[in-house]
Amino acid sequence: MVNEVDINPKTRGDMPKTSYSKPTIGSMGKTGSWRTFSPEINYDECSKCRTCWLHCPEAVISQDEDGTPHIDYDYCKGCGICAQVCPKHCISMVRDLEKKEVEA
């Protein structure tokens, strides 16, 4: 016998032949935990121009019918692109720690 290893053990029973995934929300868990800085929108200044929604690489910015943006903090990684592209400069990046201190 060339090889005595059990080639179909239960531990690999449903394992695919190669790695692949289907698009689902949060397949890697709540990736918002990777964030150091959180974007905060100043809604008084926001012109609802949708620029942040368009540029968000994680597609975590949704909008109301009138264009009001909302950030899903469960998956926002805090890259800061929305803050950079905002023409009204009304998105600020706030260190999560400071935020927690303020809240405390």
């Binding site: 394992m15 032949k17 692949y20 995934s21």
Partner: protein, 391 residues
């Protein structure tokens, strides 16, 4: 089935028509050039009905095949030597992504020195990529092995790419008759490819080749290893069915000739194995009990078949048209490794030669086999490795 007269490269091109290949992506390199050239001509004439993609390099050729195969298309390419090596990353990729691509590699020496003739160094250096490897000895065998390779590659128990090798010029440009099968005939043997697990489809999107952490990477590789070994069993089935349908059979993973009562068996890969039959006939006439075992399948390595032969013979004269530099003949070493944990102890003499297209003819093979016959008679192994016709 009808008889056609063509070079091996043209016959390989015809195999893509017979097997209803859907995508060919290839870049020209001597001596493989006339394979894609002929497919392009057949495409222009409407005989080849798939897509022919003219890419800018062999690296792109392999990755275009990977893309095509990922969508469930039957994909094929052809190359040689440096072209095959330029595909290297893609070769590993295709195997681990479990894509049943078939490549016809027309063996050519690797440079430098610049040489367009046959050495098996190009494909032998790729034997650890996970690809199944065949070496062919005739136009007919190359043509039919390509068709069989799709069936083997697409079998769920295997699901790996296959490389069908042919000696540059010696076979690739040799014109010979072969039995051509119309695609309508092949249909009953080779159904359309339907990926069993996933495919790239905009209506049902998947991401493949994803990141895999240390917890699982090894298990994917292990599955690849097992599936590669499965090819031995599956190929047996494939050949049996093919023989039943079309009456064509080329001898399994190791094509044996006059081996039954042989004391010394000559092993080799590619066209030398065909030439060797004449040498064996002459040696038999001279009273030597010798046989010829042409190793058609190098990966997976036919370990059990080697052991079966080893149980009966006194010596192997193993001929490699390539070298694992610093360790010797790749197939000779595989034969030795296959026997270590058995009780069979035939001499395994390794002969290396025929590089850069240097002819290996009947007198060369007779000289090699007789050298091993002398080992059996004297009981003295002599050198473990001999570079044949070394100046």
């Amino acid at each position: 089935m009808k008889t056609m007269l063509m070079s091996a490269n043209y016959a390989a091109a015809r195999a893509t028509v017979s097997a209803r290949v859907e995508v060919v992506a290839a870049y020209p390199i001597t001596p493989a050039t006339t394979v894609p050239e002929q497919i392009a001509l057949l495409s222009e004439d409407g005989v080849f009905k798939g897509e022919f993609i003219r890419v800018e390099s062999e690296h792109s050729a392999m990755f275009a095949c990977i893309g095509a195969s990922s969508t469930g298309a039957r994909a094929f390419t052809a190359t040689s030597s440096n072209g095959l090596l330029y595909m290297d990353e893609g070769l590993h990729w295709a195997a681990a992504a479990r894509l049943p691509i078939v490549i016809s590699n027309i063996n050519r020496s690797v440079s430098p020195s610049w040489n367009i003739h046959v050495t098996h160094d190009d494909s032998m250096s790729k034997r650890d990529t996970g690809w199944i490897q065949f070496y062919s000895a005739s136009v007919d065998e190359l043509y039919h092995t390509i068709i069989q390779s799709f069936k083997l590659a697409e079998d769920e128990r295997v699901l790996l790419p296959v490389m069908v090798n042919a000696d540059g010029f010696v076979l690739s440009h040799t014109v010979s008759t072969f039995d051509y099968l119309e695609p309508e005939e092949v249909d009953k043997f080779l159904p359309p490819y339907n990926p069993p697990h996933w495919k790239m489809d905009p209506d049902d999107p998947v991401s493949h080749g994803n990141i895999v952490f240390p917890e699982h990477y090894q298990e994917f590789r292990y599955q690849m290893h097992e599936s590669n070994k499965n090819a031995l069993t599956v190929f047996e089935e494939v050949e049996k069915e093919y023989k039943k349908l079309f009456g064509k059979y080329f001898g399994g993973p190791i094509d044996c000739y006059k081996c039954d009562d042989a004391e010394v068996i000559f092993t080799s890969q590619g066209t030398i194995g065909a030439e060797a039959k004449d040498a064996i006939d002459e040696l038999r006439e001279e009273g030597h009990k010798v046989g010829n075992a042409r190793v058609r399948m190098v990966r997976p390595f036919p370990v059990e078949k080697i052991r079966e032969l080893a149980s009966k013979v006194k010596a192997f004269a193993s001929f490699d048209r390539s070298a694992s530099y610093g360790f010797g003949g790749p197939v000779a070493n595989d034969i030795r490794a296959s026997l270590y944990h058995t009780d069979y102890r035939p001499f395994v003499k390794s002969y290396i030669g025929g590089f850069g297209g240097r002819d290996i003819t009947v007198p060369d093979i007779k000289e090699i086999v007789l050298d091993t016959v002398n080992v059996v008679e004297s009981g003295e192994l002599g050198p473990e490795e001999t570079w044949h016709d070394l100046r």
